[in-house]
Symmetry: C2
DNA sequence: AAGCTAGTTTTATAAACACTGAACCATCAA
DNA sequence: TTGATGGTTCAGTGTTTATAAAACTAGCTT
Protein backbone atom coordinates (compact mmCIF):
# COMPACT_ATOMS: atom_id res chain seq x y z
CA UNK A 1 0.00 0.00 0.00
CA UNK A 2 0.82 3.63 -0.22
CA UNK A 3 2.60 3.35 -3.53
CA UNK A 4 4.89 6.32 -3.66
CA UNK A 5 2.53 8.27 -1.47
CA UNK A 6 2.65 11.72 -2.97
CA UNK A 7 3.15 14.24 -0.20
CA UNK A 8 1.00 16.63 -2.24
CA UNK A 9 2.09 19.67 -0.34
CA UNK A 10 -0.38 22.51 -0.58
CA UNK A 11 0.49 26.18 -0.67
CA UNK A 12 -0.35 26.43 2.98
CA UNK A 13 2.08 23.61 3.69
CA UNK A 14 4.88 25.40 1.93
CA UNK A 15 4.04 28.64 3.69
CA UNK A 16 4.02 26.90 7.01
CA UNK A 17 7.41 25.41 6.24
CA UNK A 18 8.75 28.87 5.50
CA UNK A 19 6.96 30.43 8.44
CA UNK A 20 9.61 29.59 10.99
CA UNK A 21 12.66 31.82 11.52
CA UNK A 22 15.06 28.89 11.65
CA UNK A 23 13.74 27.34 8.47
CA UNK A 24 13.61 30.64 6.66
CA UNK A 25 17.22 31.12 7.65
CA UNK A 26 18.10 27.70 6.30
CA UNK A 27 16.41 28.44 3.01
CA UNK A 28 18.23 31.73 2.73
CA UNK A 29 21.54 30.05 3.34
CA UNK A 30 20.78 27.52 0.68
CA UNK A 31 19.91 30.24 -1.79
CA UNK A 32 23.48 31.45 -1.69
CA UNK A 33 25.05 28.20 -2.78
CA UNK A 34 24.30 25.34 -5.07
CA UNK A 35 24.59 22.76 -2.34
CA UNK A 36 24.68 23.17 1.40
CA UNK A 37 26.29 20.56 3.67
CA UNK A 38 24.25 19.64 6.69
CA UNK A 39 27.33 20.10 8.81
CA UNK A 40 27.32 23.79 7.94
CA UNK A 41 23.95 24.18 9.58
CA UNK A 42 25.36 22.83 12.80
CA UNK A 43 27.81 25.68 12.82
CA UNK A 44 25.50 28.46 11.69
CA UNK A 45 22.37 27.61 13.65
CA UNK A 46 21.94 27.97 17.39
CA UNK A 47 20.10 24.70 17.80
CA UNK A 48 20.96 21.12 18.54
CA UNK A 49 21.58 18.44 15.97
CA UNK A 50 18.24 16.68 16.43
CA UNK A 51 16.45 19.95 15.93
CA UNK A 52 18.31 20.59 12.71
CA UNK A 53 17.22 17.20 11.53
CA UNK A 54 13.68 18.06 12.53
CA UNK A 55 13.62 21.28 10.54
CA UNK A 56 15.30 19.95 7.44
CA UNK A 57 12.84 17.11 7.41
CA UNK A 58 9.99 19.58 7.35
CA UNK A 59 11.58 21.45 4.46
CA UNK A 60 12.06 18.23 2.54
CA UNK A 61 8.49 17.15 3.15
CA UNK A 62 7.28 20.51 1.93
CA UNK A 63 9.24 19.88 -1.24
CA UNK A 64 11.41 22.92 -0.74
CA UNK A 65 14.73 21.16 -0.62
CA UNK A 66 16.21 17.94 -1.90
CA UNK A 67 18.86 15.81 -0.29
CA UNK A 68 21.96 14.08 -1.58
CA UNK A 69 23.77 11.57 0.56
CA UNK A 70 27.48 11.03 0.24
CA UNK A 71 29.05 8.76 2.76
CA UNK A 72 27.79 9.86 6.15
CA UNK A 73 27.29 13.42 5.00
CA UNK A 74 24.16 15.07 3.67
CA UNK A 75 23.94 17.86 1.15
CA UNK A 76 20.84 19.93 0.63
CA UNK A 77 19.76 21.73 -2.49
CA UNK A 78 17.11 24.40 -2.75
CA UNK A 79 14.24 23.49 -5.05
CA UNK A 80 14.10 26.78 -6.86
CA UNK A 81 11.41 25.54 -9.18
CA UNK A 82 9.11 24.99 -6.24
CA UNK A 83 9.82 28.49 -5.03
CA UNK A 84 8.94 29.88 -8.41
CA UNK A 85 5.72 27.96 -8.35
CA UNK A 86 5.01 29.55 -5.03
CA UNK A 87 5.77 32.97 -6.44
CA UNK A 88 3.23 32.30 -9.13
CA UNK A 89 0.62 31.37 -6.58
CA UNK A 90 1.14 34.58 -4.67
CA UNK A 91 1.54 36.62 -7.77
CA UNK A 92 -1.89 35.65 -8.83
CA UNK A 93 -3.33 37.33 -5.79
CA UNK A 94 -1.33 40.49 -6.10
CA UNK A 95 -2.88 42.21 -9.13
CA UNK A 96 -6.22 43.88 -9.09
CA UNK A 97 -9.25 41.67 -8.79
CA UNK A 98 -10.55 40.20 -11.97
CA UNK A 99 -13.10 42.07 -14.14
CA UNK A 100 -15.78 41.11 -11.67
CA UNK A 101 -18.22 38.38 -11.89
CA UNK A 102 -21.24 38.93 -9.71
CA UNK A 103 -22.10 42.57 -9.58
CA UNK A 104 -19.74 43.33 -6.78
CA UNK A 105 -18.97 46.98 -6.84
CA UNK A 106 -16.13 49.06 -5.53
CA UNK A 107 -13.43 49.21 -8.08
CA UNK A 108 -11.54 51.98 -6.51
CA UNK A 109 -7.79 51.92 -6.59
CA UNK A 110 -6.80 51.56 -10.19
CA UNK A 111 -3.05 51.45 -9.79
CA UNK A 112 -0.67 48.56 -9.65
CA UNK A 113 -1.42 46.78 -12.84
CA UNK A 114 1.46 44.93 -14.35
CA UNK A 115 2.28 41.98 -16.45
CA UNK A 116 4.45 39.04 -15.90
CA UNK A 117 6.82 37.36 -18.28
CA UNK A 118 6.61 33.76 -19.37
CA UNK A 119 7.23 32.15 -16.02
CA UNK A 120 7.94 28.74 -17.39
CA UNK A 121 6.92 26.56 -14.57
CA UNK A 122 7.22 22.92 -15.31
CA UNK A 123 5.87 20.85 -12.48
CA UNK A 124 2.26 20.18 -13.21
CA UNK A 125 0.97 20.71 -9.75
CA UNK A 126 -2.07 18.87 -8.55
CA UNK A 127 -4.02 22.06 -8.28
CA UNK A 128 -5.91 21.14 -11.42
CA UNK A 129 -7.00 24.69 -12.05
CA UNK A 130 -4.19 25.34 -14.43
CA UNK A 131 -6.65 26.43 -17.05
CA UNK A 132 -8.01 29.00 -14.68
CA UNK A 133 -4.55 30.19 -13.88
CA UNK A 134 -3.65 30.68 -17.50
CA UNK A 135 -6.84 32.56 -18.10
CA UNK A 136 -6.00 34.87 -15.29
CA UNK A 137 -2.51 35.36 -16.60
CA UNK A 138 -3.87 36.39 -19.95
CA UNK A 139 -6.27 38.92 -18.59
CA UNK A 140 -3.64 40.84 -16.73
CA UNK B 1 7.54 53.92 25.56
CA UNK B 2 6.74 52.07 22.47
CA UNK B 3 6.16 55.14 20.38
CA UNK B 4 4.22 53.75 17.49
CA UNK B 5 6.18 50.54 17.82
CA UNK B 6 6.23 49.29 14.28
CA UNK B 7 5.31 45.63 14.34
CA UNK B 8 7.81 45.27 11.53
CA UNK B 9 6.56 41.91 10.41
CA UNK B 10 9.34 39.77 9.06
CA UNK B 11 9.07 37.45 6.11
CA UNK B 12 8.68 34.53 8.46
CA UNK B 13 5.78 36.30 10.11
CA UNK B 14 4.00 36.79 6.82
CA UNK B 15 4.67 33.19 5.85
CA UNK B 16 3.32 31.99 9.14
CA UNK B 17 0.21 34.04 8.61
CA UNK B 18 -0.29 32.41 5.21
CA UNK B 19 0.64 28.98 6.49
CA UNK B 20 -2.79 28.09 7.73
CA UNK B 21 -5.45 26.65 5.40
CA UNK B 22 -8.17 28.89 6.78
CA UNK B 23 -6.14 32.04 6.43
CA UNK B 24 -4.90 31.11 2.98
CA UNK B 25 -8.51 30.60 2.02
CA UNK B 26 -9.41 34.02 3.37
CA UNK B 27 -6.62 35.64 1.41
CA UNK B 28 -7.70 33.89 -1.74
CA UNK B 29 -11.25 35.06 -1.27
CA UNK B 30 -10.06 38.59 -0.82
CA UNK B 31 -8.01 38.41 -3.97
CA UNK B 32 -11.19 38.05 -5.97
CA UNK B 33 -12.77 41.28 -4.85
CA UNK B 34 -11.75 44.76 -3.92
CA UNK B 35 -13.33 44.54 -0.51
CA UNK B 36 -14.60 41.57 1.43
CA UNK B 37 -17.27 41.93 4.12
CA UNK B 38 -16.51 40.06 7.30
CA UNK B 39 -20.00 38.67 7.19
CA UNK B 40 -19.13 36.81 4.02
CA UNK B 41 -16.49 34.86 5.88
CA UNK B 42 -19.10 33.66 8.31
CA UNK B 43 -20.93 32.08 5.42
CA UNK B 44 -17.98 30.67 3.53
CA UNK B 45 -15.86 29.37 6.39
CA UNK B 46 -16.67 26.36 8.55
CA UNK B 47 -15.57 28.01 11.77
CA UNK B 48 -17.17 30.04 14.50
CA UNK B 49 -17.31 33.79 14.67
CA UNK B 50 -14.64 34.14 17.36
CA UNK B 51 -12.29 32.01 15.32
CA UNK B 52 -12.85 34.19 12.28
CA UNK B 53 -11.98 37.19 14.37
CA UNK B 54 -8.88 35.37 15.55
CA UNK B 55 -7.66 34.62 12.04
CA UNK B 56 -8.40 38.01 10.56
CA UNK B 57 -6.55 39.59 13.43
CA UNK B 58 -3.48 37.56 12.57
CA UNK B 59 -3.70 38.62 8.95
CA UNK B 60 -4.02 42.24 9.94
CA UNK B 61 -1.07 42.02 12.30
CA UNK B 62 0.98 40.44 9.55
CA UNK B 63 0.11 43.44 7.43
CA UNK B 64 -1.58 41.35 4.79
CA UNK B 65 -5.00 42.94 5.01
CA UNK B 66 -6.43 46.24 6.06
CA UNK B 67 -9.77 46.92 7.66
CA UNK B 68 -12.48 49.48 7.08
CA UNK B 69 -15.26 49.89 9.55
CA UNK B 70 -18.67 51.00 8.47
CA UNK B 71 -21.31 50.97 11.11
CA UNK B 72 -21.04 47.62 12.84
CA UNK B 73 -19.70 45.95 9.76
CA UNK B 74 -16.12 45.33 8.82
CA UNK B 75 -14.65 45.24 5.34
CA UNK B 76 -11.28 43.75 4.59
CA UNK B 77 -8.96 44.63 1.77
CA UNK B 78 -5.99 42.63 0.59
CA UNK B 79 -2.71 44.49 0.82
CA UNK B 80 -1.47 43.53 -2.61
CA UNK B 81 1.62 45.64 -2.22
CA UNK B 82 2.68 43.56 0.74
CA UNK B 83 2.15 40.42 -1.27
CA UNK B 84 4.31 41.80 -4.04
CA UNK B 85 6.97 42.59 -1.53
CA UNK B 86 6.79 39.00 -0.40
CA UNK B 87 7.14 37.84 -3.97
CA UNK B 88 10.29 39.89 -4.19
CA UNK B 89 11.71 38.19 -1.15
CA UNK B 90 11.05 34.73 -2.53
CA UNK B 91 11.99 35.68 -6.02
CA UNK B 92 15.41 36.54 -4.83
CA UNK B 93 15.98 33.02 -3.70
CA UNK B 94 14.67 31.42 -6.82
CA UNK B 95 17.36 32.24 -9.37
CA UNK B 96 20.61 30.40 -9.52
CA UNK B 97 23.13 31.26 -6.87
CA UNK B 98 24.93 34.41 -7.74
CA UNK B 99 28.36 34.45 -9.43
CA UNK B 100 29.55 31.82 -7.02
CA UNK B 101 31.29 33.55 -4.26
CA UNK B 102 33.08 30.35 -3.73
CA UNK B 103 31.69 27.48 -1.73
CA UNK B 104 33.89 28.35 1.18
CA UNK B 105 32.49 28.51 4.64
CA UNK B 106 32.12 32.07 5.83
CA UNK B 107 29.62 31.24 8.44
CA UNK B 108 29.88 33.85 11.08
CA UNK B 109 27.75 32.96 14.04
CA UNK B 110 25.71 36.05 13.34
CA UNK B 111 23.58 34.21 10.85
CA UNK B 112 23.96 35.25 7.23
CA UNK B 113 21.82 38.33 7.16
CA UNK B 114 22.91 39.58 3.77
CA UNK B 115 20.08 41.72 2.57
CA UNK B 116 20.07 41.69 -1.19
CA UNK B 117 21.36 44.58 -3.20
CA UNK B 118 19.47 47.81 -3.03
CA UNK B 119 16.10 46.44 -2.17
CA UNK B 120 15.12 49.23 0.11
CA UNK B 121 11.58 49.06 -1.05
CA UNK B 122 9.39 51.73 0.38
CA UNK B 123 6.15 49.94 0.14
CA UNK B 124 4.32 52.67 -1.63
CA UNK B 125 5.53 53.18 -5.14
CA UNK B 126 4.40 50.30 -7.24
CA UNK B 127 6.16 51.56 -10.30
CA UNK B 128 9.57 51.91 -8.75
CA UNK B 129 10.16 48.30 -7.86
CA UNK B 130 8.86 47.13 -11.18
CA UNK B 131 12.21 48.02 -12.64
CA UNK B 132 13.89 45.98 -9.94
CA UNK B 133 11.84 42.95 -10.74
CA UNK B 134 12.49 43.28 -14.41
CA UNK B 135 16.19 43.52 -13.70
CA UNK B 136 16.07 40.25 -11.87
CA UNK B 137 14.16 38.70 -14.69
CA UNK B 138 16.75 39.79 -17.19
CA UNK B 139 19.75 38.49 -15.35
CA UNK B 140 17.95 35.33 -14.54
C1' DA C 1 -35.30 53.24 26.48
C1' DA C 2 -35.20 48.27 25.03
C1' DG C 3 -33.84 44.96 21.89
C1' DC C 4 -31.28 43.19 18.11
C1' DT C 5 -26.95 42.58 15.47
C1' DA C 6 -21.81 42.50 13.93
C1' DG C 7 -17.58 41.57 15.88
C1' DT C 8 -14.32 41.29 19.80
C1' DT C 9 -12.36 39.63 24.09
C1' DT C 10 -11.99 36.33 27.72
C1' DT C 11 -11.37 31.85 29.30
C1' DA C 12 -10.50 27.20 28.67
C1' DT C 13 -8.84 23.08 26.18
C1' DA C 14 -6.91 19.77 22.97
C1' DA C 15 -3.63 19.53 19.55
C1' DA C 16 0.48 20.74 17.27
C1' DC C 17 5.10 22.63 17.60
C1' DA C 18 10.01 23.40 18.79
C1' DC C 19 13.33 21.68 21.43
C1' DT C 20 16.66 18.49 23.79
C1' DG C 21 19.27 14.32 25.90
C1' DA C 22 19.75 9.60 25.10
C1' DA C 23 19.85 5.84 22.29
C1' DC C 24 20.46 4.47 17.73
C1' DC C 25 22.03 3.52 12.76
C1' DA C 26 25.40 4.04 9.17
C1' DT C 27 29.74 4.89 7.45
C1' DC C 28 34.53 5.73 7.70
C1' DA C 29 39.20 4.97 9.92
C1' DA C 30 42.37 2.54 12.68
C1' DT D 1 36.98 -5.42 15.08
C1' DT D 2 36.93 -1.48 17.56
C1' DG D 3 36.22 3.19 17.76
C1' DA D 4 34.86 7.67 16.17
C1' DT D 5 31.67 10.56 13.32
C1' DG D 6 27.38 12.47 10.76
C1' DG D 7 22.57 12.21 11.24
C1' DT D 8 18.21 10.15 12.68
C1' DT D 9 14.73 8.48 15.88
C1' DC D 10 12.68 8.21 20.46
C1' DA D 11 10.81 9.93 24.69
C1' DG D 12 9.81 13.68 27.37
C1' DT D 13 8.90 18.73 28.25
C1' DG D 14 7.47 23.43 27.82
C1' DT D 15 5.31 26.58 24.46
C1' DT D 16 2.30 28.01 20.96
C1' DT D 17 -1.81 27.41 18.13
C1' DA D 18 -6.58 26.81 16.69
C1' DT D 19 -10.90 26.32 18.46
C1' DA D 20 -15.37 27.62 20.62
C1' DA D 21 -18.73 28.90 24.61
C1' DA D 22 -19.70 32.76 27.28
C1' DA D 23 -19.54 37.39 28.18
C1' DC D 24 -18.86 41.81 26.29
C1' DT D 25 -18.80 46.32 23.25
C1' DA D 26 -20.57 49.14 19.82
C1' DG D 27 -23.83 50.40 16.45
C1' DC D 28 -28.66 49.99 14.41
C1' DT D 29 -33.87 49.92 14.96
C1' DT D 30 -37.71 50.44 17.02
Amino acid sequence: MTPTTEPLSTSADVFKALGDPIRWNIVQQMAEVAELPCSTLEETLPISKPTISYHTKILVQAGLISVRKQGRSLFYTLRRDVLQQLVDDIWMLAPEPRPVREGRVDHQAGAGRRRRAGAARAQASATADTADREAVLLTW
